[in-house]
Symmetry: C2
Subunit: 109 residues, 2 copies
């Protein structure tokens, strides 16, 4: 019974978690696009162009792994997104309260 | 005597070759900066941003090796630059005529 409840909760929570993850993903990638467009518009030297390339390499690598839902790391992933400003705690309110508390505590560390 | 002449010619010619190489370098890198600025300004999707990243990776790799003076490949290097439009044959006129002929022939291949 407990196990069934847990599975049912987990599926619902996973769906919510994925939606929240998508919100943060869209927010971070939109901000990245805006920041790259802005930075690119003022480039006049080749070294600035290679700096832009380095920045894109780092961001691409970072973003590639960051938004893949993983049930064993999602609490830490959300805490990181809150800490970085891509999510606020209000947006997690549909998740179970103990999960939100954990995320909130981790985000303050 | 022949060898001495050859060395003397070579030093002068190398200096000219390096200047011409710099002209093409400035021309290609300025065009690249302008093209990246232009392309970046119209990016709205993440996949376009990653395409820009791929393009920068390719161009950086290409340009890194392309403008290093190498006496054994310079004729081919100039032919390539002429073919790509970064140099025109008129700009090579201070080089020895037989060198210009070789470059011109290679650029037409």
């Amino acid at each position: 019974m407990l196990k069934n409840n847990e599975v049912k909760w987990s599926e619902k929570q996973e769906k919510i978690a994925n939606q929240v993850l998508q919100t943060a993903y869209k927010r971070e990638t939109s901000a990245l696009i805006a920041s790259i467009r802005d930075r690119a518009s003022s480039i006049t030297e080749l070294q600035d162009l290679w700096y832009l390339h380095d920045l894109l390499s780092t961001k691409r690598h970072e973003i590639d792994g960051k938004y893949v839902y993983n049930s064993s790391t999602i609490v830490f992933d959300f805490a990181r997104l809150v800490k970085e400003g891509w999510l606020n705690l209000d947006e997690l309110k549909e998740l179970k309260p103990d999960m939100v508390s954990k995320i909130s505590a981790l985000a303050r560390m």
